[in-house]
Symmetry: C2
Subunit: 139 residues, 2 copies
């Protein structure tokens, strides 16, 4: 790791995760790896997202091994949090948890949503200084 | 798919891919799925990124099945492109291809970089209207 890269601790990762609402989920679908943008919310020490019936839902039921990523950046720094974890479909009597967090669909959809929980097993956060490396590229 | 979601054709996907330089790579590492932010550039009909020796490189050499995602959004719309494809390490005599595209590391790193190419096998682009769904949430 270079001097321009800084490791974030778990608290800093959770703070970033709580501050965003849009990330990307990577999951297995049969032998393939897939990735999809998802709206999510932090609920205690886990992440919740909604999904209609379909490949994401089928995928995590068949293979709960997932990875999740968020990132934010401006001109000077980039911050990324990567979560490895286990996904599970919430039971009907748990799905109300999604009502208590700011988990809003970005597009209006008249479909039934299932709530999936990602329980992190490993979390990695990085802050990258972006200002320095450009300087040597400038004429 | 709801009225608020629009499918992008391949040309529109390539245009979005050429317009960005930062995406997320999902890959297999043994039995696990992993995700990592990467800087990339479009070179003809493929994507190039650089990586140091490490898990990303090992992963795509061991299992070339990958997925890649970019997204951009503003207050009114979100656009996302998802690429499923095959990754391969460029040979030494091909690595110069990375010199001809705007593939710049975001952080300064004094390490040898390998160039990996992703050849898309399937591309999916979506544009989401974000303005409408919020209205019903407003008091």
């Amino acid at each position: 790791m270079t001097e321009a890269t800084h490791v974030l601790d778990d608290d800093q990762c959770w703070e970033l995760l709580r501050g965003e609402e849009f990330g990307r989920l990577a999951f297995h679908l049969a032998e393939e790896v897939h990735i999809a943008p998802v709206n999510y919310a932090v609920d205690h020490q886990s992440l919740l997202f909604r999904t209609a019936e379909g490949s994401k839902l089928l995928a995590v039921v068949m293979n709960p091994d997932v990875a999740f990523e968020i990132d934010t950046y401006d001109d000077e720094t980039a911050r990324s949090v990567i979560v490895r974890g286990t996904a599970r479909l919430l039971e009907e009597d748990e799905a109300h948890r999604a009502e208590n967090v700011p988990l809003r669909p970005w597009v209006d959809a008249d479909v039934k949503y299932n709530v999936v929980e990602i329980i992190p097993t490993k979390m990695t956060g990085r802050l990258f200084d972006l200002s320095k490396p450009w300087t040597h590229l400038r004429p």
